[in-house]
């Protein structure tokens, strides 16, 4: 089967699409973050793509041995206890560089669906550890609202232009972003002091 979606996207935004692949029938495009609002608006409105439903937004942390990471945020003891430990120097996957010379640590993953055509597309945006920031898609798809809050809550990805970017599944006083790979599964959180009800 031809891949009309990926071809159309590459034709329209040749400089923005970093990579495309098709694994187990899931078509995936990896794009740069700069013009994503424009790209998603086009994917939604163009009759050739017609991807009118944003199914899911999430993120993946590809922190691994051998990937660069600032010492402050990377805890070596947690890596030793990580069940997903990999041999150093043999990365199984490295997200494409968002810009020349940079190393991506996160990927924000969007899943789109066309209700009329029945096809789906996965769009991924690689982000660096130092600057995990991407434009919010709430102006394009309302469904992005809570999904983006969840990605902020659990991964610390910031969504520029989100109307109310705050934690959703965890509580305000939670420290850190627990689905990052350098967050140990057994870490304890400090007790939250009693709030003053009169304040």
């Amino acid at each position: 089967m031809a891949k009309p979606l990926l071809e159309a996207l590459q034709r329209r935004f040749p400089t923005e699409v970093l990579q495309c692949h098709d694994f187990r029938g899931d078509e995936t495009a990896i794009i740069r973050r700069d013009r994503i609002v424009e790209i998603f608006t086009w994917l939604r409105d163009c009759p050739d793509t017609d991807l009118n439903l944003l199914v899911d937004v999430t993120a993946v942390d590809y922190l691994a041995e051998g990937l660069s990471g600032s010492p402050s945020s990377v805890e070596s003891e947690s890596r030793r206890t990580s069940p997903n430990q990999h041999q150093p120097g043999k990365p199984w996957y490295q997200p494409p560089a968002p810009e020349p010379g940079a190393t991506a640590r996160f990927e924000v993953v969007y899943h789109l669906l066309s209700l009329a055509r029945g096809w789906r597309l996965r769009v991924k945006v690689p982000l660096t550890e130092q600057d995990p920031l991407v434009d919010s898609l709430v102006p394009v798809y309302q469904s992005a609202d809570w999904f983006e809050r969840e990605a902020w809550d659990l991964y610390g990805i910031r969504f520029e232009g989100h109307p109310d970017l705050k934690r959703i599944l965890l509580y305000e006083e939670f420290i850190g972003h627990p689905l990052r790979k350098d967050y140990p599964i057994n870490r304890r959180q400090p007790l939250v002091p009693m709030k003053d009800p009169t304040a």
Binding site: R24, D26, W92, H111
Partner: protein, 420 residues
């Protein structure tokens, strides 16, 4: 007192009647203050732990905010620390009213990542469909029962619970548990059906169908029910799509989208069933859609029972499925295979897949990333009710506090799945 006297409200001693020296405005609006009140997180009319902060003007909701997360249990983090097989018990606890549908959704996702799609034995596919549809019925029964009870209709609640019990007894007979099923395995199933089970299932389905008709007779044309649900929480199809809806709520808006039909998995393409849709997307239409879906599930189960083939339950691949106990105890190869799966986990090739199924509340997706190790690098569950709960403030805006109850009930928010 003196102020009231000045305003002429208090009768002077000796005076017969003194009219107030101002004209009371009896026709105009009352000047009310906006008041913020909390519904939940533990509120008898909100089944599920969710907080709704509503700002009301009188009894009309001006603005509201929905807060979830009270049932967060770190589903994804726990999955990343487990082998692929050990994730199954966690999936039971996502939507705990239809745990089998979660089991099936996750098993299909791992099988897709393994490249096993289409290689599942026929009998396993049929049994997954049968048990999945039973779970869909129990889920809808629970949703409608709770919704009606919250609107004051206690009788249908007990009737529907009676039907649900009959189905859960059958699930227990087959799986060994009512809710914590963990029944699927990657590449197959844990257990086959016991002797005489299909006959009992047909009998239980007959009972459930009768109950559905009884409930319809009580509720469908009931003035109180119609007054409280018609036009309440209505959503246009375009907005529902933009808000990421799926499942019965999207179909109630008139969008005939059902994963079982548009992207058939298992053996749904061989079964004859219809996709009920609504028109206005209000709470009443959602009730009708759910009721009809149960009847369609019943049709699916009966067809699947008739054509259920004999054969193995699991794929024949000792690197994915545990070998028979006799082999594990009787041959060195069997023992090694058993040991490798238990200790190292199923070795899933590196890559990522998004696999989606039609769960009771809508599209249940699993986005899995494998690093090639025996444990998931990422195991994301796309919860079906999450976008609908997000839309609750939009649904109840301009309505009254009493309307929150049918709106929220029709979403069928399941904390375990929403908060993970």
């Amino acid at each position: 007192m003196s102020e009231r006297r000045e305003q002429g409200w208090v009768r002077e001693e000796g005076a017969d009647h003194v009219a107030p020296d101002f004209e009371p405005d009896l026709q105009g609006d009352l000047h009310t203050r906006h008041l913020t009140i909390n519904l939940g997180p533990s509120h008898p009319a909100m089944h599920g732990t969710v907080q709704l902060k509503v700002e009301v003007d009188g009894e009309t909701i001006v603005r509201s905010e929905c807060n979830v997360g009270y049932l967060h249990r770190a589903f994804e983090k726990s999955c990343e620390a487990s082998t692929w097989t050990q994730v199954f018990p966690y999936t039971d606890r996502l939507n705990y009213v239809s745990p089998l549908l979660n089991n099936i959704g996750y098993a299909l996702a791992v099988e897709k990542l393994l490249g096993l799609s289409g290689r599942l034995p026929e009998r396993a596919g049929y049994l997954r469909v049968i048990l999945g549809e039973i779970s869909r019925i129990t889920d809808h029964q629970t949703c409608i029962a709770a919704q009606l009870m919250e609107l004051g209709a206690m009788t249908p609640y007990f009737w529907l619970m009676e039907g649900r019990e009959a189905l859960w007894d059958l699930i227990e007979a087959m799986v060994g548990a009512r809710m914590t099923t963990s029944w699927c395995r990657v590449g197959g199933l844990a257990t086959d059906m016991p002797e005489g089970w299909d006959g009992e299932l047909r009998h239980a389905l007959d009972r459930c169908l009768g109950i559905l008709d009884d409930v319809d007779a009580l509720v469908k044309r009931n003035r109180i029910f119609i007054d409280r649900t018609r036009g309440i929480g209505a959503m246009s199809a375009a907005e529902a799509i933009n808000r990421g809806w799926s499942g019965p709520l999207l179909r109630a808006c008139g969008v005939p989208y059902d994963v079982r039909r548009s992207m058939p998995y298992l053996v749904y393409d061989r079964l004859d069933f219809e996709i009920p849709i609504g028109g206005s997307g209000d709470v009443y239409d959602r009730y009708l859609v759910r009721m009809e879906e149960m009847r369609q599930s019943d049709r699916i189960i009966r067809q699947a029972l008739e054509t259920l083939p004999q054969g193995p339950l699991c794929v024949d691949d000792p690197t994915v499925v545990l070998v028979a106990k006799s082999q594990a105890h009787g041959s060195i190869e069997g023992l090694i295979n058993h040991f490798k799966i238990i200790m190292d986990g199923i070795q899933v090739p590196p890559g990522e897949v998004y696999s989606y199924t039609e769960a009771a509340n809508g599209e249940l997706g699993f986005y899995l990333v494998s690093s090639g190790a025996g444990r998931p690098w990422k195991c994301r569950c796309r919860p079906p009710c999450f976008p609908m709960v997000q839309s609750l403030p939009r649904m109840v805006q301009g309505l009254m506090i009493a309307d929150v109850v049918p709106c929220f009930g029709s979403i069928n928010m399941i904390g375990g799945e929403c908060d993970r």
